[in-house]
C-alpha cells in the first residue's frame, strides 16, 4: 500500500513538473461577447515558448484584457483554440478585488492553501508587503492591493504568468523590482504575458512586443538592446540611419523600416513614447551620448 502511494506521488510530481513549463499556441483564436457583436479579437495566431516575455500594448478597449483572459484560460474563445497552456497559471488582474473580508495575511494564507501550500512570505517581503500583514484588504491603497495580487500569482512558481497592467499604481521600488521578477520567472522557463501602457518591461532583453489593433494581434520586431536605451532621456527618438546607433540602420533596412527623428518637449516624452508603442512602433529615447 505504502509503495503504491509513493509511486502515485512520484507520478503526480513528475506530471506537474512536466506540464509546468510548456510551449503554448494560439491557433486562429477569435472572440466576441455576443453572437451579433463585432469580434474583439480575430484570428490571433502565436507561439509562446518557455522563457518568453510578451509586452502587449494597444489603445483602451482594444481587447488586451480579453486576450489575457483567453490566454489564462478564464474565457473560452468563440472560435480557435489555446493549446499547451502550462499547468500552473498566475493571473494578476488590473484591479485587485479588495472587497473581501480578510486581512492581507489571512487572504494570502488561504490562497497559499489553494495553491497546495505555496510559500507567500518571501514574495510579500520582496514587494514590500511585510508591514501590511494585519491590514484589511478594504483598507489598502490601489498600489498595495496590486502587490497582494502579484504575490498570490507569484507564490506558485507559475508556468504562465499573466499580468494585466502590472505597473499601475505601484511605488517606485516595486516598479523597479518587477522587471527583475519577470526575468526570474522567464529564466525558470515560465511564459510571461503583460499588458502594459507604461513600457515598464520594454527595457528587458528579448521582450516580444505585441499589439492589438482593430481586433488583430500583431507581433512587432523586438526593440533594440536595452544597452542602447536612454539612461538620461533628452526627449528625442530614433536617429537618421547614418548617425544612428551602430547596427540600427542595418536592422531597420533589413526589416523594411526607416528610422526617424522627432523632437518633443521633455515633459511630453513619456506620453509620446507610450503613444508610439501603443501604435506598435518600437520607439525609444536617445542617450545624451547618442545625441552629441
Amino acid at each position: 500500500m505504502g509503495s503504491i502511494s509513493i509511486v502515485r506521488f512520484f507520478i503526480a510530481t513528475m506530471r506537474a513538473a512536466l506540464y509546468r513549463y510548456s510551449t503554448m499556441w494560439l491557433a486562429q483564436v477569435s472572440f466576441r461577447y455576443r453572437r451579433r457583436d463585432r469580434y474583439v479579437i480575430e484570428a490571433a495566431e502565436a507561439r509562446l515558448s518557455p522563457g518568453d516575455v510578451v509586452e502587449l500594448t494597444g489603445p483602451n478597449g482594444a481587447g488586451k484584457s480579453t486576450l489575457l483572459r483567453l490566454m489564462a484560460g478564464l474565457t473560452r474563445p468563440t472560435s480557435g483554440a489555446v493549446t499547451g497552456r502550462p499547468a500552473v497559471v498566475g493571473y494578476v488582474p488590473d484591479r485587485f478585488p479588495t472587497g473581501q473580508p480578510f486581512t492581507v495575511a489571512g487572504y494570502l494564507r488561504h490562497m497559499a492553501r489553494v495553491r497546495g501550500g505555496a510559500r507567500w512570505e518571501p514574495w510579500a517581503e520582496r514587494v514590500g508587503l511585510d508591514g501590511f500583514s494585519d491590514v484589511r484588504l478594504r483598507e489598502l491603497s490601489k498600489g498595495t492591493a496590486h502587490k497582494v495580487g502579484l504575490v498570490q500569482a507569484l507564490m506558485a512558481e507559475p508556468g504562465l504568468l499573466v499580468l494585466d497592467e502590472p505597473f499601475a499604481g505601484l511605488d517606485r521600488d516595486t516598479r523597479d523590482a518587477l522587471p527583475q521578477i519577470v526575468t526570474e520567472v522567464a529564466a525558470r522557463g515560465g511564459i510571461v504575458v503583460a499588458s502594459d501602457h507604461q513600457g515598464g518591461l520594454g527595457t528587458l532583453d528579448g521582450v516580444r512586443p505585441w499589439s492589438l489593433r482593430s481586433a488583430r494581434l500583431i507581433e512587432h520586431p523586438p526593440p533594440p538592446s536595452p544597452g542602447l536605451a536612454a539612461e538620461d532621456p533628452l526627449g528625442v527618438e530614433g536617429s537618421p540611419s547614418a548617425e544612428g546607433p551602430p547596427g540600427e540602420a542595418e536592422l531597420g533596412a533589413a526589416r523594411g523600416a526607416v528610422t526617424v527623428e522627432v523632437s518633443v518637449p521633455a515633459r511630453d516624452l513619456d506620453g509620446f513614447l507610450r503613444r508610439m508603442r501603443d501604435d506598435g512602433y518600437p520607439a525609444r529615447a536617445l542617450t545624451e551620448e547618442e545625441v552629441t
Partner: protein
C-alpha cells in the same frame, strides 16, 4: 479544491452575509414549530419545514456565491487549476453551508417541534426531504447568482418565482414538471410520504441535477 471551498465558506461567514439567511431561518423555525406537532403529524411537520426552508437555502447559496468579487473568481479559477474546479468548489461550499442550515432546521424540528418521539421511518423521511430541500435550494440559488443573472432585481424575482413555480406546479397533476414540493407536503399530510418517497425523490433529484448541470453549462461562457 477543498481549500477553495474553505476559503469561500470563510468569506461568506466573515462578510456576515451568513446572517441574511441564518436569521430568517431561525424565524421560520420559530413559527413552524411554535406549537408542537400533534401525535401522528410528525412527518407532515418535518416536510413542511423542509419545503419552507428552500427559499432561504437558495438565498444562502446566492449570497455565498455572490460574496466573491468577479475578479477574485478569476484568481480562484487560476489558483485551483481551471474554471470547472472553481465552479465545483462554489457549489460544494454552498452545499456544505445549506447542509448546516438544513441540519439546524431538522434538528430543531426533532428536538422541539414534535409531541411524540418519531419512528425511525419518520426520521429517515425527514432526512431525505431535507436533503432534497438542500439540493433544490442550491440549484435555485446557483441559477440566480450573479454570474448567471447580473441584475440583482431580476435575480431576486427569479428566485422567488422559481420557488412559487415549485409550489404551484407541484400542486398540479403535472407535478413531475418541477421539484414537486407541494406533492411532498400532500403525501406527508395524507400519511403516504414514506411509501411515495422513492418516486417523488427520483423526480426531485432529476430536476435538481438538471438545474445544476444547466448552471455548470451557463458558467462556461459567464465567468
Amino acid at each position: 479544491m477543498i481549500a477553495l471551498v474553505a476559503f469561500r465558506v470563510a468569506a461568506y461567514v466573515r462578510s456576515h452575509r451568513v446572517f441574511q439567511a441564518f436569521l430568517p431561518i431561525l424565524v421560520m423555525i420559530s413559527i413552524v414549530y411554535a406549537s408542537r406537532a400533534p401525535r401522528g403529524a410528525e412527518v407532515a411537520a418535518l416536510t413542511d419545514s423542509a419545503v419552507l426552508v428552500i427559499p432561504f437555502l437558495a438565498w444562502a447559496t446566492r449570497g455565498l456565491l455572490d460574496t466573491e468579487p468577479d475578479e477574485q473568481r478569476a484568481i480562484s479559477a487560476t489558483a485551483v487549476g481551471g474554471r470547472l474546479r472553481e465552479v465545483a468548489a462554489g457549489l460544494l461550499a454552498a452545499l456544505v453551508t445549506c447542509m448546516a442550515f438544513a441540519a439546524l432546521t431538522l434538528g430543531c424540528g426533532l428536538a422541539l417541534g414534535l409531541s411524540a418521539t418519531p419512528s425511525r421511518g419518520v426520521v429517515a423521511a425527514g432526512v431525505v426531504v431535507h436533503a432534497l430541500a438542500v439540493l433544490a435550494g442550491v440549484a435555485l440559488g446557483a441559477l440566480t447568482s450573479r454570474p448567471v443573472m447580473p441584475s440583482p432585481a431580476y435575480s431576486v424575482m427569479a428566485l422567488v418565482a422559481g420557488f412559487l413555480m415549485m409550489l404551484l406546479v407541484g400542486a398540479s397533476p403535472a407535478y413531475w414538471l418541477t421539484v414537486p414540493v407541494t406533492a411532498w407536503m400532500k403525501a406527508a399530510g395524507a400519511g403516504r410520504l414514506v411509501s411515495e418517497l422513492p418516486g417523488l425523490a427520483a423526480i426531485s433529484l432529476a430536476w435538481c441535477l438538471a438545474a445544476l448541470a444547466l448552471y455548470g453549462y451557463l458558467r462556461r461562457d459567464r465567468p
